[in-house]
C-alpha cells in the first residue's frame, strides 16, 4: 500500500469527496449507506421516521423510485450527501443488480474513490465472489482508488484470521488488476462498528471506514499535469474578449505560454478570471475566463493547452457500451471529448474484456449493453491524444447516437495512434 495515498491533509479547509459504492444487496451495501447517513447525523428525523427505527431497515433508506419498487429492480445511480467535521461527501450509489456495469461506470465517472462492500461471512477459503471481482475490475478500468469494506464481521465473530484471508485474496486480485493503494477495513454496517465510530474488534488498529474515505487523495494530483482547458464559449464586452471553460488538468497563470487547438498556434495568457474577478493562478477543476494578449480565433471545442500537447485522429480505447441498442458496425457516432464533438467510427474491436475472469475474448463482432471492449476508433477531427491514466479529464470521452440522441458509450483512451 502506498503510504502517501492516505496521508492526512493538514489544511483546515473542508474538502468535498466524491465516492461510489459497489456491492450487491446481500453484501449489505444499502445498510452501509444507511449507516453512514444515520451516524453522521445527516439523516433527518422525518426521513428516519419513514424508514422506522429498526436498524435492519436502514437499507430501505436507499430504496429508489416508485417506478423501481413497482418493478422490483433498481434502475439507476442515486446521489446522496453527508458530512463529517473534516469533509463533505457525495455518494454515487450504484445498484448491484441488473444493468450493473452501466450503473457502475456512470457512478465511477462521478467519483474519486470506490468503496467495495463484501460479505465476510460468505467468503470461503479466500475465494471472492464473481461480482466482487467485477466491481474491482471496473474500478481499476476507471482509475479509482479502492477501499474494501469487509462487512458482516459480527457474523463471523470478528475473526481476525478470516479478515486476513480476505485481505490477502483482495491483494491478489488488486495485483492482477494493477490496482494500487487498495485498503481493507473490517466493519459491521448493521451494528455501526468501524463505519463512523470505532467498535467490534480491539485488534483493528487501522483507520475506520469514514476516516479512510476522508483521507483519500481525490483529484488533487491533476494540478501537476500539463494544462488542458477545453473552451465552452467566447464572451465579450466592449473592449475585451474572454474564453471560458473548466480546467481539466494542470493550472494557468497570466503570462503563461500556451498553444491553441490541433494547429498549436502559440498564444500568451493575459488574464485569468474566476467568478468575474482576476486571479493570479487557477487550478484543475476551476471554471475560468481567460484573455489572450492578442486577438485569437478560438471557439467551443478548442483546447488551450501547455506546449507539447499532441493530437490524433485514431486511438485505442476501452469502451463500455451503455445503450440498449447494440453497436452497429460502420455507423458514425458523435464523440465528445472535453467540449469538442466530432464524428467517430469504431474501426475494430481488438478484444472484449471479461471483467470476472479478466480474460480477453478476441474476434468479437458486436457490442451490446454492459460490454467492455478494447477498440480502435477513428475521428473526423483530431482529438487530444491524452491517455486516461495521465489526464482523466481529457483522456475520457462519451459516444452519443446521432439518431436517437442516446448516450451509448463511455470511453477511455489508452493509446494514441500517430
Amino acid at each position: 500500500m502506498d503510504g502517501n495515498v492516505f496521508a492526512l491533509r493538514a489544511d483546515a479547509e473542508t474538502r468535498q469527496i466524491r465516492f461510489m459504492t459497489a456491492g450487491s444487496v446481500d453484501d449489505g451495501k444499502s445498510t452501509l449507506i444507511g449507516r453512514l447517513l444515520l451516524d453522521s447525523g445527516v439523516l433527518m428525523r422525518d426521513q428516519a421516521d419513514s424508514i422506522g427505527d429498526d436498524e435492519e431497515h436502514l437499507a430501505a433508506l436507499t430504496d429508489g423510485l416508485e417506478a423501481e419498487r413497482a418493478q422490483g429492480i433498481t434502475i439507476d445511480v442515486a446521489y446522496r450527501y453527508f458530512e463529517t467535521p473534516r469533509a463533505s461527501f457525495i455518494i454515487a450509489d450504484a445498484p448491484g443488480h441488473e444493468q450493473y456495469t452501466r450503473n457502475m461506470v456512470t457512478a465511477a465517472s462521478a467519483s474519486d474513490v470506490a468503496v467495495i462492500v463484501i460479505d465476510a461471512s460468505r467468503v470461503v477459503g479466500g475465494v471472492l465472489k464473481r461480482q466482487t471481482r467485477r466491481h474491482a475490475a471496473i474500478a481499476a478500468l476507471m482509475g479509482l482508488d479502492v477501499i474494501v469494506a469487509v462487512n458482516k464481521m459480527d457474523l463471523i465473530g470478528w475473526s481476525q484470521e478470516r479478515f486476513n484471508d480476505i485481505e490477502t485474496a483482495f491483494a491478489d486480485l488488486a495485483g492482477a488488476l494493477k490496482l494500487s493503494g487498495v485498503v481493507c477495513v473490517p466493519v459491521s454496517a448493521r451494528r455501526g462498528d468501524n463505519v463512523v465510530r470505532r467498535g467490534g474488534a480491539d485488534w483493528w488498529r487501522g483507520p475506520i471506514l469514514v476516516e479512510l474515505i476522508e483521507q483519500s487523495q481525490g483529484p488533487a494530483s491533476r494540478h501537476e499535469a500539463p494544462l488542458r482547458l477545453p473552451i465552452q464559449a467566447a464572451l465579450r464586452d466592449v473592449t475585451s474578449r474572454f474564453y471560458v471553460g473548466r480546467i481539466e488538468a494542470g493550472s494557468v497563470r497570466p503570462g503563461d505560454h500556451v498553444v491553441l487547438g490541433p494547429q498549436a498556434y502559440p498564444a500568451t495568457i493575459a488574464s485569468v478570471r474566476v467568478g468575474g474577478r482576476p486571479v493570479l493562478r487557477a487550478e484543475a477543476g476551476t471554471s475560468v475566463a481567460i484573455e489572450f494578449d492578442d486577438e485569437r480565433d478560438v471557439t467551443r471545442g478548442d483546447v488551450v493547452a501547455a506546449p507539447g500537447v499532441r493530437y490524433a485522429r485514431s486511438v485505442v480505447a476501452d469502451l463500455c457500451w451503455l445503450d440498449e441498442a447494440p453497436w452497429t458496425k460502420g455507423r458514425r457516432y458523435l464523440l465528445r471529448q472535453g467540449t469538442l464533438e466530432t464524428q467517430a467510427l469504431i474501426e475494430e474491436i481488438a478484444f472484449v474484456h471479461d471483467v470476472e475472469d479478466f480474460s480477453r475474448r478476441e474476434g468479437a463482432s458486436s457490442l451490446s449493453l454492459n460490454a467492455i471492449a478494447s477498440v480502435r476508433l477513428a475521428t473526423r477531427d483530431p482529438i487530444l491524444a491524452d491517455t486516461f491514466s495521465q489526464s482523466p479529464g481529457t483522456g475520457a470521452f462519451a459516444l452519443f447516437d446521432p439518431q436517437t440522441n442516446q448516450t451509448c458509450a463511455a470511453g477511455m483512451i489508452r493509446e494514441a495512434i500517430t
Binding site: R45, Q47, E83, P85, V244, T286, S287, A410
Partner: protein, 316 residues
C-alpha cells in the same frame, strides 16, 4: 454532528455570526455550477426559472458570474400560482430589473381559466404548476429550462440528471434517462423536446446558506426571523394569511418564525426561529433535525412518491 462548516475555534457552530471561510467545497461547487451554466451557451432559447426563492436567487447569482462580463443569455421565467407571498414577488421583480434580464410570468390562473388545469381539493396549485410550465415552454419554444432543484431535497430527485432530457410531452421517464459521464453532458434534443438543467444538483441546503453568506446574496425577508400569526396543527405551523385564514381565532399564536422554502402560500409552512441573518440560519440548518421539504411542504409529506409522480407529469 453536521459541522463541515467550521468556525475558528473548532467548536460547534454557535448562534453568533460565525465567520465561514470560502471553503474548498464551495469553490468546487461554484466551479461545477458555472461549468454547467456555460454548457447552455449553445441553446437557442434557454430560460432560467426564477421564483424569487433562495435557490433561484443563488442560481441567478451563479449565472451572472458564469457569463460575466456579458449578461446571461437567459430569460427569466416564473410560474406564478397566484398564491405567492408579496415580498417574494417584489424581490423577484427587483432582481429582474437589477439584472436587466427579461422576466416572463405565466399564471396558473390562466391555465385554470382556459381549462387546462382543474383544481381539486387534492391537487394543490403547486402541483398544477407543471401544466402551466409546459404551456409556457411550448409558447416560447424554450429548449432548456434551468432550475435550482437539488438532489438532497427529496428521494425522487436523488436520481435526477444534471442535463435531464424531456420528450415532446415534457415527460420525465426515469427508466430512459441517459447515463451522465464525467461531466461530458449530452445536450442533444429532438424537435419539440427540451432539456431541464439543474446546476445546483450537488448542493445541500447548508451549502446554499454558506454560499449566500460568502457571496452576500440578498433574499426576500421571509427567509429571516419575523413575527407572524400561525396556527399549530399536525406538527406544522400554518401561516395565517388572507388566503389561509384561521378557522379558530383562539388557536392563533404570534411567534418568531422564518421560512425555509417560499412556495405557494397555501402549501408552505414556516419554522419557529430567531435567526435574523444568514449566519444564524446556517447555524440552525446545521443542527436541524427535519429535512427542508419535510418541515415545510405539505404536499410532499402526503406521499413519499408524490414528488416522483409530479416529476413524471412535468413538474420541476
Amino acid at each position: 454532528m453536521r459541522l463541515a462548516y467550521k468556525t475558528d475555534d473548532d467548536g460547534p457552530v454557535s448562534g453568533e455570526a460565525a465567520p465561514v471561510r470560502a471553503s474548498a467545497r464551495l469553490e468546487r461547487l461554484e466551479s461545477e455550477s458555472v461549468y454547467i451554466l456555460r454548457e447552455l451557451a449553445g441553446f437557442e432559447r434557454p430560460a432560467l426559472l426564477f421564483s424569487g426563492g433562495k435557490d433561484s436567487a443563488v442560481l441567478l447569482h451563479l449565472a451572472i458570474k458564469a457569463f460575466s462580463p456579458q449578461k446571461p443569455p437567459f430569460k427569466l421565467l416564473h410560474i406564478d400560482t397566484g398564491h405567492n407571498f408579496p415580498e417574494v414577488l417584489a424581490f423577484r421583480d427587483l432582481r429582474a430589473r437589477q439584472t436587466g434580464l427579461q422576466l416572463i410570468v405565466r399564471e396558473v390562473e390562466d391555465s385554470i381559466r382556459c381549462g387546462t388545469v382543474r383544481l381539486s381539493p387534492e391537487k394543490s396549485r403547486n402541483a398544477a404548476q407543471a401544466v402551466t410550465l409546459l404551456e409556457a415552454q411550448q409558447e416560447f419554444e424554450f429548449d432548456a429550462l434551468i432550475g435550482g432543484a437539488r438532489r438532497d431535497e427529496e428521494r425522487a430527485r436523488a436520481k435526477e440528471r444534471v442535463f435531464s432530457h424531456r420528450d415532446a410531452f415534457g415527460a420525465w421517464r426515469p427508466r430512459a434517462q441517459r447515463p451522465e459521464l464525467w461531466g461530458l453532458f449530452n445536450r442533444h434534443i429532438g424537435v419539440g423536446e427540451h432539456m431541464r438543467v439543474f446546476p445546483l444538483s450537488n448542493w445541500t441546503e447548508a451549502d446554499v446558506w454558506a454560499y449566500i453568506i460568502q457571496e452576500r446574496i440578498e433574499l426576500p425577508s421571509l427567509y429571516y426571523a419575523h413575527e407572524r400569526d400561525v396556527v399549530r396543527r399536525d406538527g406544522f405551523l400554518f401561516p395565517v394569511t388572507s388566503l389561509t385564514p384561521a378557522a379558530d381565532e383562539a388557536a392563533v399564536e404570534r411567534i418568531s418564525v422564518r421560512f425555509r422554502t417560499v412556495g405557494d402560500i397555501t402549501g408552505t409552512c414556516p419554522v419557529e426561529s430567531e435567526a435574523g441573518n444568514a449566519e444564524q440560519v446556517l447555524a440552525e440548518t446545521l443542527t436541524a433535525t427535519i429535512s427542508e421539504r419535510g418541515a415545510t411542504r405539505m404536499d410532499d409529506r402526503a406521499n413519499s412518491a408524490a414528488m416522483e409522480r409530479r416529476k413524471v407529469e412535468g413538474y420541476f
